[in-house]
């Protein structure tokens, strides 16, 4: 069976991490993704880590994992010649994802929207194309700060923290992927090409795991007291014999299930823990039951024992444990993929499973497919040499 996105062509322009993240899933489910890179190579190729910390454009973890199955074309879209090639490419595409500063983005959009037929376009910018903030330069850290999500990831009065490096940026790209594939579907139905702007701040604030709306409803900021809530418990990280688990068992029915699971079903009816308001004063009392139970068991014992009681609890694992986790092994959550240098690397498997739908193929070497794509666009070899010599292609 063909992959579900077979026959769809997407073009990725700009070489940024957000753009690469936007087209990763499109590629792995079978679309032809052409990665248009600037002459120096996509900036996301420079993101660490690298094998043995030896940097190189073909070796970076983000490139190896997120550019799977794409074709690489080097094109200087800052030149009229480069933009003309892009426009010809755009006329063959269902979707163009581009990440560029506002002025450059407008030039590219103008070129693409003149295509016959015009493709859907998705434009990635940190703040959108309008003043006053469109000219700002942001990275993963500052985007997260500007989205309001960083504030909640802190203890009151202490330094707010980002998430894992690049987590915010990749979520932004995944937002563009969702909108982009919807536009591809829409254009197949009604023939209309859409222009979609995905601003980084909008993507991060316009989703869940955010607290702006909750602040309005509750009339106050949510408490930022660290991991363990001593008011509504147990929630957050708790120590056991060999590490930590995370609970989300403060509300019913989970609290009662937990009490049963640790051998104290009578606590469910205990007046100290009976209502949320009273319970807030008795965290230390509750820990005289939960603490010793946890400390005499491993994370895995706590996890499996309490999950058997229907309690929301999970082990806090490091990445070496995650790749060996029995669920991950049983499902094949991590797979081997070829690398541009001819080796293999371990990367995450499909984000969702549909039979015969997902396949990760090796990421391309820089410019590996320039000639192939230029041939297919009808450029003569003589024109290709001329463009190459002028630095418009590579």
């Amino acid at each position: 069976m063909e992959q579900p996105l077979a026959g769809i062509r997407a073009i990725e322009v700009g070489g940024t991490l957000a753009a690469a993240a936007a087209t990763k899933t499109v590629s792995d489910f079978g679309a032809d993704v052409v990665k248009v890179e600037p002459p120096g190579g996509a900036s996301m190729r420079r993101l660490p880590p690298f094998p043995d910390d030896a940097p190189g454009l073909e070796r970076g973890a983000f490139h190896v994992a997120l550019d799977t199955g794409k074709r690489s074309v080097v094109l200087d879209v800052e030149t009229p010649s480069g933009r003309e090639v892009l426009a010809r490419l755009g006329a063959t595409a269902d979707l163009v994802v581009l990440d560029a500063p506002p002025e450059a983005a407008e030039r590219l959009l103008t070129a693409l929207e003149r295509c016959e037929p015009a493709p859907n376009t998705v434009v990635l910018t940190p703040h959108g194309l309008e003043e006053p903030l469109s000219g700002r330069v942001e990275d993963d850290l500052s985007l997260f700060a500007a989205s309001s999500r960083m504030r909640h990831h802190s203890i009151t009065g202490e330094e707010p923290l980002r998430y894992a490096p690049q987590a915010a940026t990749v979520q932004w790209g995944a937002t563009a992927a969702a909108a982009g594939i919807a536009a591809v579907w829409g254009r197949r139905q009604d023939g209309r090409a859409r222009r979609i702007e995905v601003a980084g701040v909008d993507a991060l604030l316009g989703n869940v795991d955010t607290w702006f709306l909750i602040w309005q409803f509750v009339g106050a900021e949510m408490p930022r007291q660290g991991g363990q809530s001593k008011l509504a418990y147990p929630a957050g990280g708790y120590r056991c014999a060999d590490g930590y688990v995370t609970f989300a068992a403060s509300n019913e029915p989970f609290f009662s299930r937990l009490c049963g699971g640790i051998g104290h079903p009578e606590l469910t009816a205990d007046p100290r823990f009976a209502s949320p308001l009273v319970k807030a004063e008795h965290w230390a009392d509750f820990m005289t039951y939960l603490g010793p139970w946890l400390e005499s068991r491993t994370r895995d014992e706590v996890f499996t024992t309490l999950q058997a009681h229907g309690v929301m609890v999970a082990p806090i694992l490091d990445v070496s444990e995650v790749v060996q986790d029995r669920q991950a092994l049983a499902r094949g959550s991590f797979v081997e993929v070829g690398t541009p240098e001819g080796g293999t690397a371990t990367v995450a498997g499909p984000p969702f499973r549909l039979p015969e739908a997902w396949e990760a193929r090796a990421a391309p070497r820089l410019g590996e497919h320039t000639v192939e794509v230029m041939d297919a666009l009808g450029y003569s070899r003589s024109e290709q040499v001329a463009l190459f010599r002028a630095g418009a292609t590579g």
Binding site: E138, S154, L213, M312, V322
Partner: protein, 420 residues
């Protein structure tokens, strides 16, 4: 004008909390007709029966005023249904017969036990696609396990690297990042299933593991181990290869006199020169200065952080960010919830959505994560009331007025929680 990207597609959502409901709203934002089948008579987890559990001020039942619930339930219709009884199950089947996509977020095995497993669905509704989105996926040894996003964050390796470098794990705040990534993945999965149906003429079954939906988004974290057999450290806001890259306490600002912070970063020499000049010390970037080069800055992390701490203390977070950005380096204030309301960019783009709800009153919501032209997403429906569209949806399915009344009488549907 409403977005029409998914016009004509009917989606049935049977999920709770954040990842699934947000996905339902996103599909509605894109033009699908989304019908949320809400638990009945048990109240949804995000709809508290009593005031004081996150319910906002307002009139009427607390479960209509929960911000956690409102956040992820726009642009869909609301049908309450007790699907565990025969007439409720029949109503769900009639609904699914009209639908293109059905997705649910209960622990793996739950819908099968109540008669809605894939074998049943594909036999009765051959063009329907079914997406299960349990935390750890539909198959595997953790089948049936329950979790929120905070648990998936922990089991994914993310929690272990997020906290304060110098504090115990007990102080790492729980987060729900996997709900955000899971919602986006569900949207992609639903459209992929539609594309597959174009190939085969049939619906398909999709196994969406929310932990896997997030894992692929953290390639750097995993590569530390799989590539170099190192465990990633807790870095806080530090970047091992970029100096400066941090968060500094400002002299007040919109986030408050004692809790205003500004992030500053300079990824290369050009941005460093911009930051140095904004800080009033252009000589930091002059040839010959020890901080002028990348290796020089890498070796002077503490001294540079000290200098920037001092700089950040010279003004408010907003003013510092403005000055540094004007010079051309990376900077942003750490935005507090109330600053979202006064953000000049949101105002210029008319991004925030002011919404009136019969019980929650007037609230300002974050806008859509995308802006589509020509057919833009629009806030056509605010968060549905419990059972708000029972009569409308059941009527469309061919139920007569007396039949709907009988379902209500039997407690199969209802428009209120916690009674009887």
């Amino acid at each position: 004008m409403t977005a029409e990207l998914l016009a004509g597609i009917r989606v049935v959502e049977m999920t709770e909390v954040w990842a699934g409901p947000m996905a339902g709203s996103f599909l509605g934002d894109l033009g699908a007709d989304v019908i949320k089948v809400e638990s009945f008579p048990r109240n949804s987890m995000t709809r508290p029966l009593v005031a004081g559990l996150g319910a906002g001020e307002g009139e009427g039942p607390p479960y209509e005023r929960s911000g956690i619930h409102h956040l992820s339930n726009r642009n869909k219709r609301n049908l309450t249904l007790n699907v565990r009884c025969e007439s409720g199950a029949e109503a769900l089947h009639r609904l699914l017969a009209s639908a293109d996509v059905f997705f649910e977020g209960y622990s793996a095995g739950t819908v099968e036990r109540i008669g809605f497993g894939w074998d049943v669905l594909r036999a009765r509704h051959p063009r329907l696609s079914y997406i299960a989105m349990p935390g750890w996926g539909a198959e595997g040894p953790y089948r049936g396990y329950v979790t929120l996003g905070s648990g998936l964050d922990s089991a994914s390796g993310h929690t272990a690297v997020r906290g304060y470098p110098d504090r115990p794990m007990e102080d790492t705040p729980p987060i729900y990042h996997s709900d955000a990534t899971g919602a986006l993945t569900l949207v992609f999965a639903a459209i992929t299933a539609l594309l597959r149906r174009e190939q085969t003429g049939e619906g398909s079954s999709v196994d969406l593991s929310q932990i896997e939906a997030m894992t692929w988004q953290l390639p750097g974290l995993f590569a530390e181990w799989t590539m170099n057999r190192r465990l990633p450290e807790r870095l806080g806001n530090r970047d091992p290869h970029i100096v400066p890259h941090g968060c500094y306490r400002a002299a007040g600002g919109e986030a408050g006199p004692d809790d205003s912070w500004v992030v500053l970063a300079a990824e290369d020499d050009r941005q460093w020169a911009a930051l140095a000049s904004a800080a009033g010390n252009p000589e930091w970037a002059a040839d010959g200065h020890p901080w002028a080069t990348v290796p020089g800055r890498l070796g002077a992390r503490d001294a540079i952080d000290g200098a920037l701490r001092e700089f950040a203390q010279s003004d408010t977070a907003e003013a510092i960010a403005e000055r540094v950005q004007a010079a051309g380096a990376i900077a942003a204030p750490v935005i507090a919830p109330w600053s979202v309301l006064s953000d000049p960019q949101h105002a210029a783009r008319q991004w925030l959505q002011t919404v009136e709800h019969p019980h929650a009153g007037v609230k300002v919501f974050a806008g859509f994560p995308w802006r589509i032209a020509p057919d833009a997403s629009s806030w056509d429906r605010t968060c549905g009331l419990v059972g708000e569209h029972n009569a409308e949806v059941l009527g469309e399915l061919g139920y007569s007025g007396p039949e709907i009344a009988a379902l209500r009488q039997e407690g199969v549907i209802g428009e209120a929680y916690g009674e009887g």
